[in-house]
Amino acid sequence: MNEFDDPLADTQPRAGVARRLEAHYAALGPTADEVARIQAQIAQRLDAGAGDARSLPRLAPRTRGTHTRALGLAWAAAVTATLGVGLAVAALGGLSGASWFGKVRAMLPWQPVPVRAAFVPFVGFRDLSHPERFGVLDQPVTLAMTDGKRASVVQAWHEADRLIVAVALEGADGQPFDVAELLSGYEMVLRWTNRDGKSEERRGGLDGYQGGDPPIRQGEAGSVPPDNLIHFAFDDMPRRITEATLNIDLSTQRNGVLRLRRPDGRIRYTPGTEVTFTLKLARLDAERAQRDFHSPRPLPALRDTHQGITVQLLDVTDGPIRTVVRVLVTYDPDNVARGEQPAGEVSNGYSISSDGVSRSHAIGPLLDRVIGSSPWGPAEPELGMYWAPAAWLMDVDRGRRLAAHEEPPCWEPAQTVWMRAAKFTATDGLRVPFQDWEERSFGDDHLWSFGRHDGIYPLIDGTIINYCFDPIVGSGTRVLRIPELRSHGRGFRNDWSLRWTDQRVP
């Protein structure tokens, strides 16, 4: 085939890159050692999960250090030996594959731990990829377990076909939740009734955490920081659940490895009853979402100035899936040295906290958008509410706004939310270094990367920044912290704290 028949090799540079990439990825194939390690890990996962790989405690130590690796190898060897006996049993008994596994599992050195079930109410969907069906995230619901522990569902959302439920855990009497207990394997069971009236069920395993500070570290013993949200993931969830009844119970799941390590040797849970709750999922339409997003809540003028840069809090807009805080950045020309560009950057580092408000607000704030002068005209803040449903963005932005640009970025409904830093022109005629279109997805797995690697955006005089947070509930004094707003070329950092009191009725 002519190289130019390849759609990725229709120019010589592209063809050159394609050839290099093919060679590069071909060289990345696994070595025999890596294949063997993968095989051992699969075996370990399957057996540690008692047949359900998702129930594995993925928060377990993953340190690549010598000790952990040695432990892992020892464990793999133990499993290997056990399975070896199982193979012998299978060979002697002529067992089928399923019964073979049953026999092997029966020989594994642990037995189920009796379970006392607690439950955690489910508060709603946040399904950005299906904007017509995202639900309202109500106030976090906290439930006290009979042994004094507390579990709160703080967030729930869809990532592709997965449902993620974020839970905050507290130990008894307000003590931090024990890491070892967490790693002993919690499992969440989600049940609902489908449209046909049939009951369905998914089991969600630990899927990670939403870090606080400090985060749960690899191999760490001790306690779960209170601002860490534990994620439970449910795979292959149907997207068309509306008006459904959801029952969730949070219960310990057996995992003999860690149970055996407990110093007191006691079984901490006793069988209990499952408590059921019911929640009707809200159905919101794009119109309501848009209305919500276009009702900013004015706030008292707040401003702070450091070294020629002034940050001013404009307003707060409450949306069903995000609360947007708008901040205006301006420059004092007297404080900008001659020859320097009156531009700055905003990069990673922002948080919001408040009194008596969900801890999630300190976890998931995101810089949403920088709005400034653009090639097609003045700033249009009203179009900056990028946490609107994807379909609404598609209709409004693609049809009108992006068409004005010579090369509109690809818009994809599945990605839902985009961040763009447009071309900016300084108001005093100086040209800010050209910034090409940048596309940022806040959906799914890309959310993590924002800010840490590539969250540098140009600022000019008059730039408005949107900070997005999970919906702010309740009222109280809030602090927006912007620790890394820097002037261009100066290299200093400033740390703003804009504090205001929200007067809303909770």
Binding site: P13, H24, T31, E34, G49, R64, T80, D235
Partner: protein
């Protein structure tokens, strides 16, 4: 000596990868289609082995391209196949099995970053260094090593979503349509997006258009 790989146990005599690249011998030898192998694996989990051997390279290369760390890639690959084995009854067959696996692998990569979002991988060696190391013993490979290092650096500088596209295309060998299905794009949009990524890489590598 029993093997630790549960579903490969009956096939433990099959050779492993003899070299870093290239499909496993068992995968080449088994000419049955994925659909047949999936059906067999549903009936008997130990029959998952041919599927694993057929696709482990692609899954690993994808994960390696995304994570740029062999340990993390191996872990993500293991998690992918473990989940696939459990989720196999839910494989509907409305797309290629390999693409379904990559869909799982993408979630595993996302899981990895979610778990490590606040951890800086100080110990991880960039692929650029490793590419250089691999060619260190070859006296004629100096220029290639430099080029490989530049390409790895350029890939590392890509936005995650762009690198995702590249890894799916060149690492996992997915078609544009399959990538489009996984990313919610049309086939044409996928091609366009990949073209742009290649253009960015070409610019980073300073590849110039010459007369044809």
């Amino acid at each position: 000596m029993p093997t630790a790989n549960v579903f490969i146990a009956p096939h433990r005599d099959a050779p492993l990868h003899p070299a870093p690249a290239g499909p496993p011998a068992a995968a080449v030898a088994d000419t049955r289609g994925d659909e047949v192998l999936v059906a067999a694996a549903l009936a008997d989990r130990t029959a998952f082995a041919p599927l694993y051997l057929r696709h482990v390279d692609a899954v690993y290369r994808y994960c390696r391209g995304q994570l740029r760390d062999p340990d993390a890639a191996a872990e993500a690959t293991a998690n992918t196949f473990a989940d696939a084995l459990v989720a196999l009854p839910r494989f509907r067959g409305d797309g290629p099995f390999g693409a379904w696996l990559i869909g799982i692998a993408r979630r595993k990569v996302a899981d990895h970053w979610r778990h490590h979002r606040r951890l800086i991988p100080l110990a991880a060696r960039p692929d650029a260094e490793q590419a250089t190391d691999r060619m260190a013993g070859d006296p004629g490979a100096g220029r290639d090593a430099v080029e490989a290092g530049r390409l790895a650096a350029a890939l590392a500088a890509l936005a995650p979503r762009d690198r995702d596209l590249v890894s799916m295309r060149f690492g996992a060998g997915l078609s544009f349509a399959e990538i489009g299905t996984l990313t919610g794009r049309s086939e044409a949009a996928t091609k366009m997006a990949l073209r742009r990524v290649l253009d960015r890489l070409a610019a980073a590598l300073d590849l110039q258009e010459t007369s044809r």
